[in-house]
Symmetry: C2
Subunit: 411 residues, 2 copies
């Protein structure tokens, strides 16, 4: 079978072909960052009653018309509204009822005069020095939400205030998408566990830990299947185990041609397999393989720590979002920011270059400073805040140009 390297747009499109994982129920207190799997209609009006938004006096607005400092309106003070209770008295014409912020409007009242425009001349007489219009300083019963209206659409991700709104509506649990499970396998004869001392030529297993943390950051559950030698049977067994336990399998390693070929051979040994991607026109990260085995995506990721993070940010994060059912129409910008380049970046033709950048706030500008250095060095990633893509169809980017930055996990 002949395979051309694919563009990143094409790869992202291919990854959209995978379905979200199943649903489960979650208490709203455990739902931070989780994705709603069904539209949520409002079970009732919120706040459900006419409510004052200030401390003041509930009145009939027309009783204040024309009132000014020099010509105040005079009203009779009757009882006070108590928080959390239906007011005992109604507000007849010419009357004023003291009301706290959040208090329920007494019957008859249609507005609230703020405390600072009211002076009690005596226990029974109130001077009002400013006119209000009807419904001024009043929250109506369905101002926040109307019964039956959709509060959140399926695919929305829950932030603290979103959960607060659900609490306000009396919704104590929600249907959410399960967190996708990701089986992580680290291959390579040179890779050793991190608690072992390497002898010459060996390196510790960086990628299992990087990818595990990345899964958690992206909202997935990592299942670390450990190390695997460059051996067909051993790798195939691990992949079988991964397909059984997880929603997707990520094989890290294969920085050398030999391991890469092995990953490919293992994928090809499965019956229901389709090779979707064999190389991506990006740098770093070109030798990435993606296969569909049954309904699951199996990724063969390059072994370099830097390539791994680039592929994770550019492809695996959107892929996890896809599996998580995330489709929030509100989602913008939190994963990207704009910045001004501090210097020119040249680009090789024919591939998208992902450049690590350090960000800096300068006045009202955000500056992106490219970090150069040998691509295999994980230290360059530790200094970086994100990635800038240099498109394969450009000759490079210029100093002072505004670029989109793909942000790493926040610091």
């Amino acid at each position: 079978m002949f395979f051309k390297v694919k563009t990143s747009e094409k790869v992202l499109k291919i990854l959209e072909g995978f379905d979200s994982v199943g649903e489960e129920n979650s208490s709203i207190d455990d739902a931070l960052g989780r994705v709603i799997s069904r539209d949520i209609p409002s079970p009732e009006n919120l706040p459900g009653f006419y409510r004052s938004s200030v401390d003041g006096y509930a009145v009939k607005a027309e009783d204040t018309f024309g009132a000014t400092e020099s010509l105040p309106a005079l009203l009779d003070v009757s009882a006070e509204v108590t928080m959390g209770e239906t007011p005992a008295v109604a507000c007849a014409s010419g009357k004023a009822v003291k009301i706290p912020t959040g208090g329920m409007l007494p019957e008859g009242a249609d507005g609230v005069v703020m405390l600072e425009y009211c002076h009690e001349l005596d226990k029974k007489t109130l001077e009002v020095t400013r006119a209000i219009s009807p419904l001024e300083n009043v929250i109506r019963p369905d101002d926040d939400f109307k019964q039956g209206g959709i509060v959140f659409e399926k695919g929305c991700s829950m932030r603290p205030q979103d959960l607060g709104l659900l609490a306000g509506l009396g919704i104590i649990d929600v249907q959410v998408y399960k967190r996708p499970r990701v089986a992580i396998i680290s291959t390579g004869d040179e890779i050793i566990p991190i608690d072992k001392k390497p002898v010459a030529g060996q390196v510790r297993d960086i990628n299992s830990h990087t990818l595990g943390a990345f899964c958690r950051y992206a909202g997935a559950i990592p299942i670390t299947l450990g190390l695997c030698k460059d051996d067909f049977t051993q790798l195939r067994d691990k992949v079988v185990q991964g397909l059984d336990m997880a929603d997707t399998v990520w094989i890290s390693g294969g920085s050398s041609v030999g391991t890469r070929d092995l990953t490919l051979k293992v994928c090809e040994s499965f019956q229901e397999m389709e090779l979707l991607v064999h190389g991506i026109s990006i740098s770093p990260g070109k030798p990435t393989i993606i296969a569909r085995i049954g309904s699951r995506a199996v990724f063969g990721l390059p072994g370099h720590a830097v390539s791994t993070i680039v592929i994770a940010q550019v492809f695996l994060k959107p892929f996890i979002s896809r599996l998580s059912g995330r489709n929030d129409s509100r989602a913008v910008s939190c994963y990207h920011t704009n910045a001004e380049l501090s210097r020119n970046i040249e680009s090789a033709n024919g591939r998208d270059d992902y450049i690590r950048v350090r960000l800096e706030h300068k006045g009202d500008k955000i500056i992106a400073d490219p970090i150069f250095g040998k691509s295999g060095l994980i230290s360059t990633l530790v200094e970086a805040h994100g990635l800038v893509r240099v498109d394969r169809n450009t000759e490079g980017l210029y100093q002072g140009q505004v670029v989109r930055v793909i942000l790493f996990a926040p610091l």
Copy 2:
């Protein structure tokens, strides 16, 4: 005692007077988002040996000097480097040793020629069509990290790649600051638990759930102490309980003057108490109280959902960072972005206004669109991506102006 409202700068300064909580040990696999509590020196060089960064042939660089396509260098091919092993052969003058990416350089070799510039004429003879300089395509033993160098300073927050680096260095656990514990109390006679049906005038407890999720988002542990009536003894008991169980106490409620006074009275009833803040010159959120009781900060937060979120973003997030020991010199921009205002915003003099905004990417611009609407409505927060501050010393902000946006939790 006479108290003036304080500026937000002053309040932030006051909050810096609180110390970080204690330390604990964490496995690196549990350390995502945690803050390192001690400088970490590198226990060894990384990668620890001369390593090839490409697939190719290890050579003495001088043997390739002058080599071009028309005048290639001819070298003798000897054995191959195996991943994870010390090369069996040395690279003498005139020799080339095949080497995979990540392989250890054989003794004598000082550079690697990429595969694409090499052609094996026969099993024994290699044609090299490009000259390399010494150390080309080679990672040196301490290129990534030098033994004894500081890998992370105390105060750094751990991202996936940071944990990957620790894994690479064989560091399997780290000292981190404990997550601060936050006691949350919701006061107000009108507040009912979220699983109860409100009768007229009552509202469900939005803030315990909003603040609880906010704590988790900010890296703290919420301890929800539940509802409390506007009653001195009951509130004081809860505060005592909170001071005992947690590192800080957040009392939500007090949107009405009565509750506010009660919170103040309860704080004042403690012996070792200092009233630090009684009102902040911001909107919304002005009636915020901060007291120091012993070594702990007690916050009296306004009850409105919107005020709560504003205070949380502007003050409680930096405060949690402070308690968490977070002091990462790398930390920029992840919590802020810059955007262009879609319209004018007027401002009242004498206070900082925090305006909710919706963000939108338009070409290479990020646009911030102010969300107006009654300040008590939580629905306005659900549409918003962040807050823009209109400084008290300006008359407002103008359409097209670039503003700093304080970002909410990501979607």
